[in-house]
């Protein structure tokens, strides 16, 4: 892909699916594969991918860097940087198998690393921030090298092709995870860049996204104020950085971060109790640049948590389902039934209402009939009451 094309932002429609065991039970990638396969029509073979949590239990304390290289020079440069900055416990090629529909794969490597203690001390950063900076540097400064996963005990796998072929190519049936998130992509302009596929990840965050952010321009400029460089030119990157800023750096609870990105309307805010009004007014005043406007449905995961949320007027589909200790999310009910043929409960979350599954908690936030314990639920409750 030419530099010019790389500079363009790719917009796309998509299919999404996610599944999470609230008790941490790990399963292989076959169920998620069949779910995203049934959403085949929502993608066009120009990109797909998976994120899975709990796949590297034997190296759970190390950062797993998944890197793709277009050229040998890129590999040399990136490995030099990785070698200088990190202690590498293991480096290996990511296991793949031949699939006729996955064409021209780049060189795919993974490294299990920890920041060099002395450098970390000098940098006066948390290990996470240290890793984040190095990942940004590789992605921003070494052409042809791209880190597509950098969390602990999790991994992203993505490629150009249909998601079910990608699952096959990356041998996902050999991994065991308690969260699986999948994405099939329908980009509307120049295809063919592996790094541009979803999920988009940052440390142990992963995001899959269906939609086009109509407020991309300001979201990007807002993030730049906090040092994020949007190099990928995809909307999803913006989502990932916003989540990182709001939840990790500004320490907002996940529910409130969702309420920033899919902000309630002033009209709804004015119906809240006075104390809540003040909070929500402040959130909208301060985080206007982080309001994600336009159609989106996203599923994002991090260690121990999976969240699905829609834009503030639900311009893209998202369906949720439950059975036993599993939470399912998908663009369509068919996607849920492919993972779980007989769900106990299937519902359509309201606009802006996050569905949050947390490891160890059997209650899913945003589930119908759940106690009104979250802000989001309270908000909707108010709306229903009036």
């Amino acid at each position: 892909m030419s530099e010019y094309d790389r500079g363009k932002r790719t917009v796309s429609g998509c299919g999404l699916s996610g599944m999470m065991s609230l008790t941490g039970e790990r399963v292989d990638g076959q169920a998620i594969r069949s779910s995203i396969a049934i959403l085949h029509e929502r993608s066009n073979g120009l990109g797909g991918g998976f994120a899975c949590y709990g796949i590297y239990p034997e190296r759970a304390d190390q950062f797993a860097l998944h890197v793709m290289y277009d050229t040998v020079e890129a590999q040399e440069k990136a490995e030099e940087l990785i070698g200088e900055e990190f202690n590498i416990d293991l480096d290996e090629r990511i296991p793949t198998r031949f699939n006729p529909n996955i064409k021209n794969p780049p060189l795919l490597m993974r490294y299990f690393v920890l920041p060099r203690p002395l450098l970390l001390q000098e940098a006066r950063l948390t290990a996470e921030d240290f890793v984040l900076q190095r990942v940004m540097r590789i992605n921003g400064e070494i052409p042809g090298a791209y880190v597509f996963s950098s969390g602990k005990n999790m991994g992203a796998f993505k490629a150009v092709g249909y998601a079910e072929d990608i699952a096959d190519f990356f041998r996902l049936e050999e991994y065991q995870a308690y969260i699986w998130i999948a994405h099939g992509r329908f980009p509307t302009n120049t295809p063919g860049w592996w790094a541009g596929a979803h999920p988009f990840t940052l440390l142990d965050w992963s995001v899959v996204h269906n939609g086009e952010i109509s407020s991309y321009g300001i979201n990007k400029r807002y993030l730049e104020m906090f040092g994020y460089r949007c190099t990928m030119r995809t909307d999803t990157e913006v989502m990932a950085y916003l989540l990182d800023l709001l939840i990790r750096r500004h320490k907002l609870p996940v529910e409130l971060a969702c309420d920033v990105m899919a902000a309630p309307f002033w009209e709804q805010i004015e119906r809240l109790p006075e104390r809540r009004q003040r909070l929500y007014r402040a959130l909208r005043q301060v985080y206007g640049g982080a309001l994600v406007n336009g159609p989106f449905a996203i599923i994002f995961g991090r260690q121990g948590e999976m969240v699905g949320v829609n834009d503030r007027i639900k311009l893209r589909p998202l369906v949720a389902g439950r059975k036993d200790d599993w939470l399912y999310l998908s663009s369509e009910e068919a996607g849920i039934r492919a993972m779980c043929p007989r769900p106990e409960l299937v519902w359509t979350p309201r606009a802006g209402q996050p569905v949050i599954g947390r490891l160890g908690s059997k209650k899913v936030i945003g589930e119908p009939g759940a106690e009104v314990s979250t802000l989001a639920a309270e908000r909707v409750g108010q709306e229903v009451a009036t």
């Binding site: 363009k8 932002r9 917009v11 796309s12 429609g13 509307t188 302009n189 939609g211 086009e212 952010i213 109509s214 407020s215 991309y216 321009g217 300001i218 990007k220 400029r221 807002y222 730049e224 104020m225 906090f226 030119r233 750096r249 500004h250 320490k251 907002l252 609870p253 409130l256 902000a263 309307f265 002033w266 009209e267 104390r275 809540r276 003040r278 909070l279 402040a282 959130l283 909208r284 005043q285 301060v286 985080y287 206007g288 640049g289 309001l291 406007n293 336009g294 159609p295 503030r312 007027i313 311009l315 802000l375 309270e378």
Partner: protein
């Protein structure tokens, strides 16, 4: 030979004295011709009464002195028989691309008088208008547009300082705000009224604006002329200005407003103080401004306690102390070449709002040469200031108001997309009140009752009617802004604010586009 010159065309006592002694008249063709259809005319004398400029006299029928006619169209509008026509003077000076007619007329006037020429309203020279080279985006297929007739659209805007992040405290009843935000103004629409002082405009005009601001849920601005007793009920919706002349500034005045504004400069006259001709200083103006009746109210060019950015900081904090840190402090500057760095300094000095006035901004009176040749376009000023504040990571610390030539809701939308939080309307508001842009505000003879203090003229402007028209105007713009947002597929004004991705340039040179951070039309996302 007749002439349009009157004393107040020429600024300064010295010049006027010189003029009285040494006026050397010469030929200057009139700007307009005044025609009356004698068949229609009912000889009612209304035109004679209506002209604020004594251009029409009664000699058994109305007779006009075209040289005195300013083209304000009051007589024409009020003629019950529609018998009057005002046209550009067809008496044709041989055209010359360099020595334009206005250059020649100005030169002749100066040869006649030896004075500094004075004008009203904004720069009227044909500089490029960048608004007209910018186009807005709309949604097609990949992201849906939103129908403002069927879905909520949010224009609510806050002005003031904000922290970078919200501190949330987890309490038993759920999350709560850990620290109150600094004071912010809430606007129902991202549009407010620009600073126009009592003195430069009539009390009725200011009353109309103040009432409209209250009804619209937005703010008006006292300008530098103090706050008239009658307007105190509307003070809670006012920016009260503290300018270099300190006219009418008392601690009660400061505390009566919603925000305090330090006026450093004005787009129409950067680097120049205010100039209210003595003709407009009536008894009531004198009381409100705390100056003698009939005296020229000349506010100094600089604020005499601000000779540096650290001095500005002191005044900002003096005003915050005086108002108990309960009101945002705005600093109004003219857009000049180094505006980005200046604005950044202002924010760092503690201002909560930066009011940028572009070179097209209006005025009641300014030296023509200053009005027409100093400053830079607001389009560029907003773009570079917003970018500078973002690069420095201080954009959250202050809001930006853009003013100086906002003609329509499209201009407002473009200003907001370039980075403004809100726009201020000065000339547009006066047009809504009936102004026809004759540019003779400085004479104090406005036939429409807007920029005059003559009771016979001011009573022509009914503040209730005026306020109705202003409310209509802003409501119409708000509805249009909602249409624009909907077409762009967003439903809150903050999603347009600073989103230059939604702007494309046609016919701008590359350097200007780079400076403004705008891509050319044809380049996609």
């Amino acid at each position: 030979m007749s002439t349009t010159t009157r004393d107040s065309d020429i600024r300064g006592r010295k010049a006027r004295k010189a003029q009285r002694g040494a006026r050397v008249q010469g030929y200057r063709p009139a700007d307009f011709v005044w025609r009356r259809d004698a068949d229609r005319c009912a000889l009612c004398k209304r035109c004679v009464q209506q002209c604020g400029f004594d251009a029409i006299s009664w000699e058994n029928e109305p007779v006009a002195d075209p040289a005195k006619c300013v083209g304000c169209h009051r007589c024409e509008a009020m003629c019950p028989q529609r018998a009057i026509t005002i046209e550009p003077n067809p008496q044709y000076l041989r055209p010359h691309p360099l020595w334009t007619e206005s250059h020649r007329k100005n030169l002749w006037l100066q040869a006649e008088t030896g004075g500094v020429l004075v004008s009203g309203m904004g720069n009227d020279l044909p500089y490029p208008i960048i608004w007209d080279s910018l186009l807005l985006d709309a949604c097609q297929v990949t992201n849906p547009s939103i129908d403002p007739l069927r879905e909520p659209m949010e224009l609510r805007t806050y002005l003031g300082r904000r922290p970078d992040q919200v501190e949330v405290a987890m309490t038993l009843e759920g999350p709560d705000l850990a620290a109150e935000l600094p004071p912010n103004l809430e606007l129902a629409v991202p549009v407010l009224f620009a600073a126009m002082s009592y003195g430069s405009i009539s009390l009725n005009a200011q009353k109309a604006i103040a009432m409209a601001a209250e009804e619209l849920g937005t703010y008006w601005n006292t300008g530098e002329g103090g706050l008239h007793e009658d307007l105190k009920p509307y003070a809670h919706r006012a920016f009260v200005q503290c300018a270099s002349g300190r006219f009418g500034v008392t601690v009660d005045y400061l505390n009566s407003g919603a925000a305090v504004e330090i006026k450093i400069g004005q787009g129409a006259k950067p680097g120049i103080g205010g100039h209210l001709p003595g003709e407009k200083v009536s008894a009531e103006v004198s009381e409100t401004r705390m100056i003698p009746v009939g005296s020229d109210a000349l506010s100094p060019a600089p604020q005499h306690d601000i000779y540096s950015i650290e001095d500005l900081r002191q005044l900002i904090y003096a005003l915050k102390e005086a108002t108990n840190y309960e009101k945002p402090v705005s600093v109004k500057i003219a857009a000049v070449h180094n505006v980005a760095a200046i604005a950044s300094g202002i924010v760092r000095a503690g201002a909560d709002i930066v009011y940028l006035d572009g070179f097209r901004g209006g005025t009641g009176a300014a030296p023509t040469i200053i009005r027409d040749h100093l400053g830079i376009p607001i389009e560029i000023a907003v773009a570079v200031v917003d970018q500078q504040l973002r690069e420095e990571g201080i954009r959250n610390q202050a809001s930006l108001i853009a003013a100086g030539g906002i003609r329509s809701s499209a201009d407002a939308a473009k200003a907001i997309a370039l980075g403004a939080d809100a726009v201020a309307l000065g000339t547009a508001a006066l047009l809504a009140l009936g102004c026809t842009l004759c540019q003779k505000c400085y004479t104090g003879r406005c036939s429409w009752g807007i920029t005059t203090q003559d009771p016979a003229l001011t009573r022509r402007l009914d503040p209730y009617v005026g306020s109705r028209r202003l409310v209509n105007l802003v409501r119409a713009w708000a509805a249009e802004l909602e249409e624009i947002l909907g077409a762009m597929g967003v439903n809150a004004i903050e999603s347009l604010r600073g989103s230059r991705e939604r702007l494309r340039a046609v016919g701008l040179d590359r350097t200007t586009m780079d400076v403004m951070g705008v891509k050319p039309a044809g380049v996609g996302a």
